[in-house]
Symmetry: D3
Subunit: 244 residues, 6 copies
């Protein structure tokens, strides 16, 4: 039995319930998916500012679970603490943005990313530049609906997503649509019926890539970008004086 731990980096517990239902479909006889939620931090992650307050708690949860699960997924398209968690642990840590791009690259020449507020477009462009494949990105845009309202009116959300997707498809050459927020999991099902292109939902993408890494017995390299930290040197957090 393998276990993937999904960490919700926002303090809204209603969100966790929705995630649980969605992920139930991804469990298997030999794969259990657990969810943990930060106790402090942002209500949603829509800015770099929000993201900053999610990191310490994500890393605490990673540390507490690193010896009992087989892989970790952080449930937010900003991939918060993904690099930091890779410093800390040897098991695979997967972010939804990286996972979605890895999958989108197999599905067509160019992909577009649709997300929530208007800053999410440039943010996604920056993420893709960091990942090193900007020539595969057709464009990125927000739909001006905040994360926590995405599911209030799913039909409206899906309409807006479809409209933004069609702009990226017709005017920018997108052949694949990546949803730039893991809060769009449910709405993605409505959206798929409106579009004739593949739609990558990032939470399921991350779970799937985590499974791949478990199956292939692969994890991130610790010889270059990632380095085991010294948690005992962190002052004023859970780590206070803990040996690494």
């Amino acid at each position: 039995m393998k276990k993937i731990l999904v960490i919700d980096p926002i303090v809204k517990l209603e969100f966790q319930k929705m995630v649980k239902e969605y992920l139930a479909a991804f469990e298997k006889p030999d794969l259990e998916i657990e969810i943990a939620t930060v106790e402090k931090g942002p209500s949603s992650i829509e800015t770099f500012f929000d993201e900053s307050f999610a990191l310490p708690e994500i890393l605490r949860i990673v540390d507490e679970n690193k010896d009992r699960v087989d892989a970790i997924v952080v449930n937010c398209f900003a991939d918060p603490a993904v690099h930091a968690a890779r410093d800390l642990v040897k098991i695979p840590v997967v972010g939804p943005a990286e996972a979605s791009v890895s999958i989108a690259l197999l599905l067509g020449q160019k992909f577009g990313i649709i997300s929530t507020l208007r800053n999410s477009g440039p943010w996604s462009e920056m993420q893709v530049r960091t990942m090193g494949c900007p020539d595969r990105l057709a464009g990125a845009a927000g739909i001006d609906i905040p994360v926590l309202e995405l599911n209030s009116d799913p039909v409206k959300t899906a309409d807006r997503l479809a409209q933004a997707a069609l702009h990226l498809i017709r005017d920018k050459g997108a052949e694949v649509i990546v949803l730039g927020c893991t809060g769009m999991a449910k709405v993605s099902q409505i959206l798929r019926q409106k579009l004739e292109v593949p739609v990558v939902e990032p939470l399921s993408a991350a779970i799937s890539m985590a499974e791949v890494l478990i199956r292939l017995n692969l994890s991130h390299s610790k010889t270059g970008l990632y380095l085991a930290p010294n948690p005992s040197s962190i002052k004023g957090y859970y780590w206070n004086g803990k040996e690494k």
Copy 2:
């Protein structure tokens, strides 16, 4: 029960046997892996020339199986006929090179590719440029052992691979090693013991990414790069006069 068809694009049946054994470990209660082999074509694929003669047969096998399997993997790092097969079918078609790069992107800042003859280095560089992520590639090199001799002396092969890997790791900044030939599946196990970086074996990478696409109900976009062909217009091959 889902089925993945692996197509061996070379006429050597002994190769098929080895592939079968290797892939047995990837079968699951709900996943069957079948293997088919071209009847005409190259003995190995080590040049663009060799690859050219593999395509018609790969596509024949794709056509004959497209309605009874859930995904197709072409068992060669040149990803032969992968784009062409995507024109032909709606089910996912996965190439080992694309799949390996998708996975390597999650494992470190830069990856290196090691393959067989000396032309494989530049060839891999070209593949990665086509995929649009050249800034993530540390380098690529061959080990001067032809495909069909890779398994004659596995210890020697693993030694050469380790040597080439260490050059890419120490001098070029590779943090992840991608094997650039699906004939290295067995040898990869020896190699892993010699290196402290993750080693991506491309056939298992392709199988895994095919599973991901099946699971996520995703396939390539048919709105951009790929277009349903008209097989009846092909003269002198299996397709002669067949309606699409």
Copy 3:
């Protein structure tokens, strides 16, 4: 007297006649242009699928003529078998896409590519990425007329081309137009009268670059990307058991 062999990779003989007339103007007292046509293969090359069936015959023709001509041009913008032919022979092998891009780079800051069906746009983008100069490409688009109908109504074709060109010029910054199909040779003459930017016709571009390579006594390097193959190992084709 130098000879360039132009290989038509499609089985339509009427196409060969048109090519012959067009190329007559490129012959010189010391330059003869011959045309050969595949006997099996596609009726036109509009998909990766089509292209796959052209390769074995192109390579047969290359092999049969390699000792009696000075350079080879493959008459299709997909540059089919160009890399494979370079593995096989030492004389220059030129593809219309590569040749057109080489020329377009001298004519302005950015070029656009116009081709036939809608998939040709993304395909050309991928070709340019492979060639390593994506920042010079303004955009690429198809005009939704299949290859074999391009010359049925040349005025209509030229109108559509002009319309697509103007979009690339006005909205995307193209300063040079590259025609993305060698079947547009005749129509290009009408198009040139409609546009004030340079129009690169790919067949003439390829012939010209082949002449340049002959004149400069240059051919592709055999030390890196290209490697002499072993044709005797190909089973079931013209090459059956032939020594290289």
Copy 4:
């Protein structure tokens, strides 16, 4: 009188003293430089993990000072919280890495980055990719001395830096050296005497770019990548329930 606030993101007060002395030389009759230090967080920032624990406190200090200073510099080459602070405030926020690259671009064709531990090389490469100018980077490397030991034996540190610099200059084509750690401020003076290329010290680079932005009355755009956050939604930190 203009004020720049330098935020030390590590809890070591001895570090603050050194910074104060170094920055004294950058004060002017009309420019005051203040230093603030986080009260919780890492002892040094050498991993993504370390960086994560610096962010909440940096942002608290930014918030407390945003109305009384004219620009903010975060004193670490990881540029921690720089994007997040830009979400929060309208005054310029400058990171040493971004500032150093901006200056290095004016000094030669290619620059190299030298930093502390071995992971800092790939980290810097990733930063430069995010900044969008990877073709200007010759290479990046660490010298295997942790931040807190850089000043224990300045001569040894300068020797190691010189050695790493010479490798980047001779073998990789670096014409300019960027120091990849703001803890190298003092040592940079020794290093400059050993090298004939310009050496960019990142803390002074950041102070200088902050002055430029103040002088030109420029600050980051709030129409794209950056968006004013809602601090009241952050639970469990200084922000608890604060209105934005």
Copy 5:
């Protein structure tokens, strides 16, 4: 007291007067800004042709002043003679285009450049490609007003600039506007009131970056791209027979 020499590369003296007034605001108790004007050369620089005739005189002025000033700024967005002057002298030489891009990189994800005639758009794109950060450029465009008419009707000019800026902001994703002509210094003040994004004025950007380099005691590397020339070998110009 430090001195920056601004070289006007055009023979219009009325332009010099305007520059003098504009730069007065950038002087400081310890910073003097001098202006020198070419005696031969173009009336404005709007083409590569114009630029060519500015170079010999710029270099003469650089040579005559190189021992009495601390930095040199060439007052034109084409950055004329900037590389050549760096060959000649050891003090910093700053071009407005390079300086503006260095600053724009700190202000948002993507910047746009607006300049004078229609060729200035592609020219700026080429400049940014040379600088190595094309992925940060949203787009570039001219407003069809020649340099010498920019200030005839400042309101009209500002209107046109605003219109071009809004196109780059709304349709291309620009978050920062760089003015692509140093003749827009005055008009930039009107423009700033019309736009909610930061506007980088290139002459002030160049002065500021020159100050930074003076302050940091940095100048261009003479170990790579730049090489001390041998002026005595230049025939028929001011340099005739002068020893270097």
Copy 6:
């Protein structure tokens, strides 16, 4: 009868004689090659500084000949005045660097450039970045022999070139060598015997590409990067008061 005018941008007449002999072999019954030499300017072009003094005279010669020749080649790898001449005239203007790169792109995966002094390496890298194909460049280096001494000891020069070439081939992956100076025309013949890779000699490359453009009736676009200048506005040069 077509005419190509080759402009020597340096005042050394002995150089012209050598060029004449070399180019004789490129004349044809229907192609005449003329040579003109600047009367003022540099003795050789080895720095940006040198190049600056070549431009006015090159442009004078272009203007005086623009109606009587069919294409212009500027005989220097710095491509001096090539963009400026394209502003001025409608006939094709070809630079040896651009032409060499266009040809090298057809010959292998990566090319290397070898030139004269040590600054020529970074300069060539910058040129290739401007051309937009940096991923095809393996590396560039000088051999520390000034232009005017290249032919003093051709065997020594060829030895040094071979040594530099072998470094680029073995350690950097170059498959094609481009000579980065048109003064290496004669020596290139010796070099070719020492290397098994194609060697592109830039003057012959430029002549050949000029012929291609004449033959195809193509010239640079005047709708984007290039704009007809107003020579009458140039003060103090040949152009003084001339109407365009």
